[in-house]
């Protein structure tokens, strides 16, 4: 299996504008052969719509704010594309991490290393 043709949607759930994390992650994913579609700051329904329109294999959410906004986005994606895995990065305090993991979502908080994130993307998309 390979990353060729695997598509990953990346979105920010918040309006905070911190682009450093998602940009670095997107670059690492592209370097690993993924096709990355970045839609920037998106509302939950926009994330859901893009996951359909772009026919992606994985959704990556960057959280800069409250976990419940991400939970809503996750719920909407799952409703329309239940087969698509989701992973999350950003400022995710432990209580939020537990909540997300309880939903079956992998969480990569600050300090996560890029090779681990790339490996997770490969595993989640079936590229590895």
């Amino acid at each position: 299996m390979s990353t060729a043709g695997k598509r990953i949607l990346m979105a920010k759930t918040g309006l905070d504008g911190h682009w450093r994390g998602p940009t670095v992650v997107a670059k690492a994913l592209r370097d690993a052969g993924f096709e990355v579609i970045m839609i920037g700051m998106a509302r939950p329904e926009e994330v859901m719509q893009a996951s359909i329109d772009e026919d992606v294999d994985l959704v990556g959410l960057n959280i800069g704010g409250h976990v419940d906004v991400a939970v809503r986005a996750i719920g909407m994606v799952r409703e329309s594309r239940p087969e698509v895995p989701i992973f999350v990065g950003g400022v995710v305090p432990p209580h939020a991490k537990r909540k997300l993991e309880g939903l079956g979502v992998e969480v990569y908080p600050p300090g996560s290393q890029l090779p681990d994130i790339v490996a997770a993307a490969m595993r989640l998309t079936g590229a590895a």
């Binding site: 920010k12 759930t13 918040g14 309006l15 905070d16 504008g17 911190h18 682009w19 450093r20 998602p22 940009t23 670095v24 670059k27 690492a28 970045m38 920037g40 700051m41 509302r43 939950p44 329904e45 800069g64 704010g65 409250h66 419940d68 906004v69 400022v91 305090p93 432990p94 209580h95 939020a96 908080p109 600050p110 300090g111 290393q113 890029l114 090779p115």
Partner: protein, 544 residues
């Protein structure tokens, strides 16, 4: 001779400047040596802004603070003042503030739980009034908020309007805002923002207005911090900051509505980041003072010592605070604060040890104050000004940073100037290069972060769960928005908004009309709608 690298390792500063094993007198560049004997408080000021340093002016303990409802933020600010903070910062909610949206804007409704997580929601002068309850406006040093350019006129006018209502003479009111290009157009690129050219106009308007009405107010604060924490290295932060100052000064020069000296004084309160490379960061503050003096003298012929002495606010690097083993961050905060103090800054904020998890808890906030108090009161650091001055290493590093920073400044000028380098995304690319390099170095083992890349085991993990904020910020803000609309004098509000729109279109100074708008209880989102219709949106050069 002394280029011994130890076991083959290359030793560099965080910005990549090569380091020798030790420094000797001949390492200090000839051209720099003459500055070393000049005492602090004298031109070129690299040894300090003031002659007696911290003996007479201890650095201001100045922490960013804010969350929830205006009364929650007020309570936290008063807590910090009780703990010994010597100035205060009002942070507005970023979702609404940065974008100039009210809470009923669809983009805010979609993220309603985020509201109040990064500052109190302040949509009208009534909210600002609550947030400022019992604060010592006339005697302390207040930061009105308004870090993002399009938001600053609202935040400032709100603060000043409340101060006026309380009988404070604006001509004597001390304080600052921020209105920072680095944050707005580089570090936290928001979903919607007025174009850089209009942002420059706003900042020049604020400078002019303060020149006439608020002479003790620092109208804008150029925050290299926001460039550095996005990826710019030490000398890039310096070069870009002064390239930004040049944009402001050129705009004022073109307008010819205030003296260039006053404009320079208005720009001469800046904000730098202190990160973990102790000596490079301390040297950076010294380099900054030297560069400001050089810039003013060489480019504008300004030598007035009251203008050429750069005053520095410093914030420790939030990006260096780790999620893992968060109590280690108390040590990091201390080291970074030490770098700032050794560099002779006038004011300092220390990031919370829970920075990577959430906005600061009350305990983390108190710790940020305590770190500074311990340094001030227990280490004797305030006794001697510029204690690193004359060190062959630090003077060499200072001189090298100055040289590299002017080179980077020249590169920005070749791009067409600071604004052009933001519009094209050139500066974002420089930051992104360094971000990737940082990760590469962490993977290769060249850069060690304790608890993250090495020594990951934590014997007895200390439970830091991140600050939860309050859960009624959105609902209360919505209720108050409805109340303002219901109870304000509607004709007055709509006239004031109409007048503001005309001024935005005609190009007059926006601040008098903004003051009228705030007094008439015009709301943030209504002002934002005017901006969006008059100025349109900045064409973001990066895909966020």
């Amino acid at each position: 001779m002394n280029s011994n690298n130890g076991n083959g390792r290359v030793w560099n500063t965080a910005s990549g400047l090569h380091l020798k094993n030790f420094y000797a007198p001949e390492d200090v560049p000839e051209s720099h040596r003459k500055h070393v004997a000049v005492p602090p408080g004298e031109s070129p000021f690299h040894r300090g802004a003031y002659p007696t340093g911290y003996r007479t002016k201890p650095w201001r303990i100045f922490q960013l603070s804010g969350f929830g409802k205006p009364e929650d933020e007020n309570e936290r600010i008063r807590f910090l003042l009780e703990q010994g903070e010597t100035g205060f910062i009002m942070e507005h909610d970023r979702n609404t503030g940065d974008h100039c949206y009210n809470v009923d804007h669809p983009d805010v409704v979609a993220r309603r739980e985020d509201v109040g997580l990064t500052g109190a929601v302040m949509q009208s002068v009534r909210d600002i009034d609550i947030c400022m309850k019992d604060l010592p406006l006339a005697t302390s040093y207040g930061h009105a908020g308004g870090a993002v350019v399009q938001h600053a006129p609202f935040a400032l006018a709100g603060y000043w309007t409340v101060a006026k209502q309380r009988g404070v003479d604006l001509a004597r009111l001390p304080g600052t805002g921020q209105s920072d290009f680095f944050l707005t157009y580089l570090g936290c690129v928001t979903k919607q923002q007025i174009p850089t050219r209009d942002g420059l106009r706003f900042n020049a308007d604020i400078m002019e207005f303060c020149d006439k009405h608020l002479p003790r107010w620092v109208p804008v604060s150029i925050a290299g911090y926001n460039g550095a924490d996005t990826g710019l290295n030490a000398y890039q932060e310096l070069g870009a900051l002064f390239a930004n100052a040049v944009e402001y000064l050129e705009e004022i020069k073109r307008r010819n509505t205030m003296s260039l000296e006053n404009a320079a004084r208005a720009c001469g309160g800046v904000n730098f980041r202190a990160s973990m490379d102790l000596f490079e960061e301390a040297s950076k503050m010294r380099a900054a003072r030297l560069m400001w003096q050089q810039l003013l003298e060489r480019r504008y012929g300004i030598t007035n010592p009251k203008v050429a002495n750069l005053r520095i606010h410093c914030v420790t690097a939030g990006s260096r605070m780790t999620y893992q083993q968060p109590l280690n961050n108390i040590v990091r905060g201390t080291v970074m604060a030490l770098a700032a103090a050794l560099g002779g800054v006038q004011s300092l904020g220390v990031s919370g040890y829970d920075e990577a998890l959430s906005i600061p808890s009350e305990h983390a906030h108190q710790m940020s104050v305590r770190i500074q108090q311990i340094l001030q009161e227990e280490t004797n650091i305030q006794a001697v000004t510029d204690p690193l001055g004359g060190s062959y290493y630090v003077e060499t590093l200072t001189a090298e940073l100055v040289e590299r920073a002017w080179e980077f400044f020249d590169e920005i000028m070749e791009q067409g100037g600071f604004l052009a380098s933001l519009d094209s995304g050139w500066l974002h690319e420089r930051a992104a290069e360094n971000q990737s390099e940082d990760f590469r170095q962490q993977e290769s083992g060249e850069q060690v972060i304790i608890g993250v890349t090495d020594h990951k085991d934590d014997v007895s993990p200390f439970d830091v769960d991140g600050f939860m904020g309050v859960d009624d910020a959105y609902d209360v803000a919505l209720e108050r928005l409805h109340e303002v609309r219901r109870t304000r004098y509607e004709k007055g509000a709509s006239q004031a908004l109409g007048a503001l729109e005309s001024v935005c279109r005609d190009g007059e100074n926006i601040m008098p009309a903004m003051m009228d708008a705030l007094a008439a209880e015009v709301t943030l989102g209504e002002i934002g709608d005017v901006y969006r219709s008059v100025f349109g949106d900045w064409a973001t050069p990066i895909q966020t």
